[in-house]
């Protein structure tokens, strides 16, 4: 019954949404803007990500209330354009925790079937 309530409470996160939320949390709200999030995912998750895909995902997370954004400073290397910083909100952190717990629970007991670390 408890788990059913949890399901209703949190919108399920997609895999990429989970990665984006984790990246923002890792970087911290003072530095989490597009380029940093992009690089964090590419370096840690070892996968190529398109900036366009990242922005549509960030927009979706913002509409769900999982992240909030603020406009930052403009720099010369960006052609004088401002950065947009993202911060994970309490609702987003809870959804991420829920998704993480679900993954851990599902993985429990099947580690031998997954093989060794790659």
């Amino acid at each position: 019954m408890q788990s059913r309530r949890n399901k209703a409470k949190y919108d399920p996160l997609g895999e990429f949404e989970t990665l984006v939320l984790m990246a923002i949390l890792r970087i911290g709200p003072d530095n989490a803007y597009g380029v940093r999030v992009h690089l964090e995912i590419e370096e840690r998750a070892k996968r190529r990500v398109a900036l366009g895909a990242l922005y549509t995902t960030l927009d979706r997370l913002e509409r769900k209330g999982f992240v909030s954004s603020r406009v930052g400073e403009a720099t010369e290397v960006r052609g004088g354009r401002a950065k947009k910083y993202f911060k994970v909100e309490a609702h987003g952190a809870a959804a991420l925790r829920h998704a993480y717990q679900a993954t851990v629970e599902m993985a429990r007991g099947i580690e031998p079937l997954l093989g060794g670390a790659s």
Partner: protein, 170 residues
């Protein structure tokens, strides 16, 4: 009027040749087109110098190379200073046509995406992959972003799909 001694032209020729070879090697890593220009210029100078020497217009081959190199380099320098030739670094900017593609995406994303793309182009793509591959990567990101926003607007694309732009780095 006193003639410039032959050994000075030889020295100028040797120095200029060394400089041009260094430029060819240096620019071949990132800006191949500059390297090609220098290579072509070097061949032209070598051929003209050889025929000048053969015709007996100069005493030594080095003398001939020195005169011709000084002539061509002087002309190139004057062209750049007068603005007739582009400065070498002018090409190290994101492709303009690809930027136009990004201008087609919704306004709320446009500025941030353009800024992020420009920052990645200058700080990551060019230093890591070289100018040519950096421009291809910029094109790829711009095209994919436009496609992403168009299809997301139509509700046909699930954003966040893993994509592989490795082919553009080849």
């Amino acid at each position: 009027m006193r003639r410039v001694p032959s050994w000075i032209w030889s020295l100028v020729g040797a120095s200029m040749t060394a400089l041009m070879l260094a430029a060819i090697i240096y620019f071949s890593k990132n800006e191949v087109w500059i390297s090609v220009v220098f290579t072509t210029a070097t061949f032209c100078i070598a051929i003209k110098s050889f025929f000048d020497y053969k015709k007996g217009q100069t005493r030594t081959l080095a003398d001939s190379i020195g005169r011709n190199t000084a002539l061509i380099m002087g002309y190139a320098l004057l062209s750049i200073l007068s603005g007739k030739a582009p400065a070498f670094h002018s090409e190290s900017v994101p492709p303009r046509t690809a930027k136009v593609l990004v201008l087609l995406i919704p306004r709320k994303f446009r500025e941030n995406l353009l800024g992020d793309l420009e920052e990645e182009f200058n700080e990551i793509f060019v230093p890591q992959y070289g100018l040519k591959a950096a421009k291809r990567l910029y094109w790829w990101h711009a095209t994919y972003a436009l496609l992403e926003f168009v299809l997301a607007g139509c509700g046909k694309m699930n954003s966040g799909t893993e994509v592989s732009p490795d082919f553009v780095i080849l």
